[in-house]
Symmetry: C2
Subunit: 349 residues, 2 copies
């Protein structure tokens, strides 16, 4: 037989390209076009590498406390991980341990089905409606758990909190995960509901609105019981996931709320302007509440535009998947970057 018979074989998630050449306009992985808070820079300048000889705090208390204070929950209601992907992977492993199917939309973050496959969790993907809207009733049948991204990716659409709450309230026998990677760019967070529903887990990230994709921080908030189960699994996997710079710099980032709000505000303003310009150029798109626009042109195929943009050194994301293969996901960059994009599109179209 041979050792390969015993190997778990999976089809991995493929992240957006991280091209190494300089001078490109990178609008393909929903990063923030602005740097992290100056407080992070100051913390980094003070960082003492001599202390790296010691293990970091396994509880990442400094970071956990800053998040708990900021979001008005108790420290035992916060879980942190190596990006929200780590938090979500641990959550799938912890909470979706039954033989009933986990539910998430057919068009959504393409990592969900990868985790389900990896952990051999059954799943079902109810179709969004033709406008890419969630059909609430799809999430009211028996299930092994629910994951809803809000705003959704790659559509950018936000579902009202009432809808989310109804789904959470109707599923006391399942954990409902609301993946809010993009919520800071529009919409109310389900965080305000975590004290009301023991089965609700809200996941967010530092990679988008907090401009710290390179430091790898994600977090979850929920009932202390839920967080306790999640920590038990995490401590059965890797005691020390958060390294010393991520704990120190992440906590610093949370403290600078003014900078955070200013950055997010700039991105929202740019997004709203770009929406108008794209419409004028003949694009259609769901009304984004995120830091990207999911756009389709009425006459030029997305795959053609994708290649033309790439030739020009402008990277966007194209998903070669049913229902969305004629769309481009365009991250909101700086005003200058978006002007270059728009100038090229005007010329091309």
């Amino acid at each position: 037989m041979g050792w390969e018979e015993k190997v778990r074989r999976v089809v991995p998630y493929i992240p957006g390209e991280q091209p190494k050449q300089k001078g490109i306009i990178k609008l393909n992985t929903n990063e923030c076009p602005y740097p992290p808070s100056p407080l992070v820079k100051r913390k980094a300048a003070e960082f003492r590498t001599d202390e790296l000889r010691l293990y970091p705090d396994p509880d990442a208390s400094l970071l956990v406390k800053s998040l708990a204070d900021y979001y008005g929950v108790k420290e035992d209601q916060i879980f942190v991980g190596v990006g929200s992907d780590d938090v979500l992977a641990m959550s799938f492993l912890t909470f979706f341990n039954s033989d009933r199917p986990v539910l998430f939309p057919d068009i959504t973050y393409s990592f969900y089905d990868v985790w389900a496959e990896l952990f051999q969790i059954p799943y079902r993907c109810p179709a969004l409606d033709e406008d890419f809207r969630l059909k609430k009733e799809d999430y009211l049948s028996e299930n092994g758990g629910i994951v809803i991204p809000n705003p959704n990716a790659p559509t950018g659409l936000y579902e009202e909190l009432d809808t989310i709450e109804e789904i959470v309230a109707s599923n006391p026998d399942s954990v409902v995960i609301i993946d809010e990677a993009y919520v800071d760019f529009g919409g109310r967070s389900a965080l305000e509901l975590v004290d009301k529903y023991e089965n609700l887990l809200v996941v967010q990230t530092f990679s988008k609105s907090r401009a710290m994709a390179g430091i790898r921080i994600g977090f979850a908030a929920g009932s202390s019981k839920l967080i306790c189960y999640l920590k038990d699994v995490k401590f059965s996997f890797n005691s020390y996931t958060m390294n010393a710079p991520s704990i120190a710099w992440g906590a610093a980032s949370i403290l600078d709320d003014g900078y955070f709000k200013e950055t997010v505000g700039k991105i929202i303003n740019t997004r709203e302007r770009v929406k108008k310009e794209l419409s004028a150029l003949g694009f259609v798109f769901p009304d984004s509440s995120s830091n990207f626009i999911f756009a389709s042109h009425k006459s030029i195929p997305a795959s053609e535009l994708f290649e033309a943009l790439k030739q020009e050194g402008i990277y966007v994301r194209h998903f070669n998947k049913p229902r969305i293969d004629n769309y481009l996901r365009i991250t909101i960059g700086t005003d200058e970057q978006m002007d270059e994009l728009l100038t090229f599109l005007k010329r091309y179209i």
Copy 2:
């Protein structure tokens, strides 16, 4: 029923205490008493936090290349993770996917059974002999995989590479993982065998000999086929595990081989001196090839000594487990730290 019915429940690994008070002598988690290379300090001073807005390189190529160059293997033979715990957890998930039991010693790193439980992998723990030596024949029967720490923890004993090779060669139908967290402190690495045996995975860490426990880097070397399977699972879990500081600073650390060898040499010298002094004080211990000594006193119970040392602000590790509950695992600190330990022990005994 309720959502808790669907939760995976585990008994997590409990890491050594990370006390927050100052002024203690911390000999409980096998950290390096010396700081990382000055090159790491320099890299940290140059670190540009503005670039944190971007995702890190998902392949951590800079770090992977530095390791491949240093150890004389190809880049596709190296896998990196968030500490060797992350590498080992991913390896368990990837390679131990059969219904036959995975084998590892009864006295060993206490995370192995935790991972097996987490991933619902059957396992069996052949007993070490009365001198805590591996019995080779225990690893020649049918199995679902093998994990051998070399040197072993918490015993500190190194098994000759011939023994390891025989086990690897006799198990072509299983992946054999050699966990070499402590190999730099004594003994030949199985790395020299990775081109000869497709089923061999060698795991090492930056947390001990490289004095970077706080940055969280571990790595594995093996055949490119083995590493490819491991990467597929890793990319199904979290695309971006290594953050930007860990990639940059880890690579810098590898470049400073002189500093690395000097540090390791100092620890070995201290260890050999402390062995003599402990013997003179009536301690017995396996002959350590690691950065710790696993010692038992001929008349004073380990639990009593553990508490007495803690009172004095000297933290060591005590495992309340069968066969080893009368031993203390004492990390090798600086000469000054060890002198304080020895002075106290002389007075106490």
